[in-house]
Symmetry: C2
Subunit: 131 residues, 2 copies
Amino acid sequence: MERIPILRMGPFLLVTIQVDLHDRLVVTFQDDLTEQISRTGARGVLIDISALDMVDSFMGRMIANIAGMSRILDAETVVVGMRPAVAITLVELGLALPGVRTALDVEKGMELLRASRGLRLGKEEDGDLED
Amino acid sequence: MERIPILRMGPFLLVTIQVDLHDRLVVTFQDDLTEQISRTGARGVLIDISALDMVDSFMGRMIANIAGMSRILDAETVVVGMRPAVAITLVELGLALPGVRTALDVEKGMELLRASRGLRLGKEEDGDLED
């Protein structure tokens, strides 16, 4: 299972990270994600990290990089489900994730993206990706 | 990371399975899922298995068991993202997943659940879980 699944949820993409991101997996994931954003015209990316008990500086940088790539492709990144211990570690590592928005859970993250991208719930014409 | 995250998506729960389900992980997952269904009053469970290249009979039985438990708790299970090879294997193993509905991706699975549970898109009062 050497691939992190990327799920389409209306105009957004949802990724749940459950495994340690080693180098090769990160490269595959970045390729997959950027390719999907560009193909579908997704407006936002939700990254759920509720399964992560700990993060190291590599993981922190990867999240920041992914957010940066998405932003250039006009998709906003929201990191959701961060555990308190992870927040403490990230700040102590000096990785305060500038430019990455966070929300407590997926639903709040989606609301945030909808509000920020000017999409309204239940409007089908806003909700369809291109592909 | 010894826990499979369960995400709330409106009136449904979403689980993406990315790692091999060994015995202890399955027990933890079944506990978590049934507890969440009963606590939130979720109407449906979406299990995304797009990350699985292969399934064995253990995995097949687990999916069938999880669907059975959810059904007793009045939540319908839809398995989404199944790869063709996995479908072939499951049938060859004699595990045709009776009582489990399937859909090609998460969005189609959600539509199926909404239609089946009589919920309409964009009606906030239908979409809130109890907790």
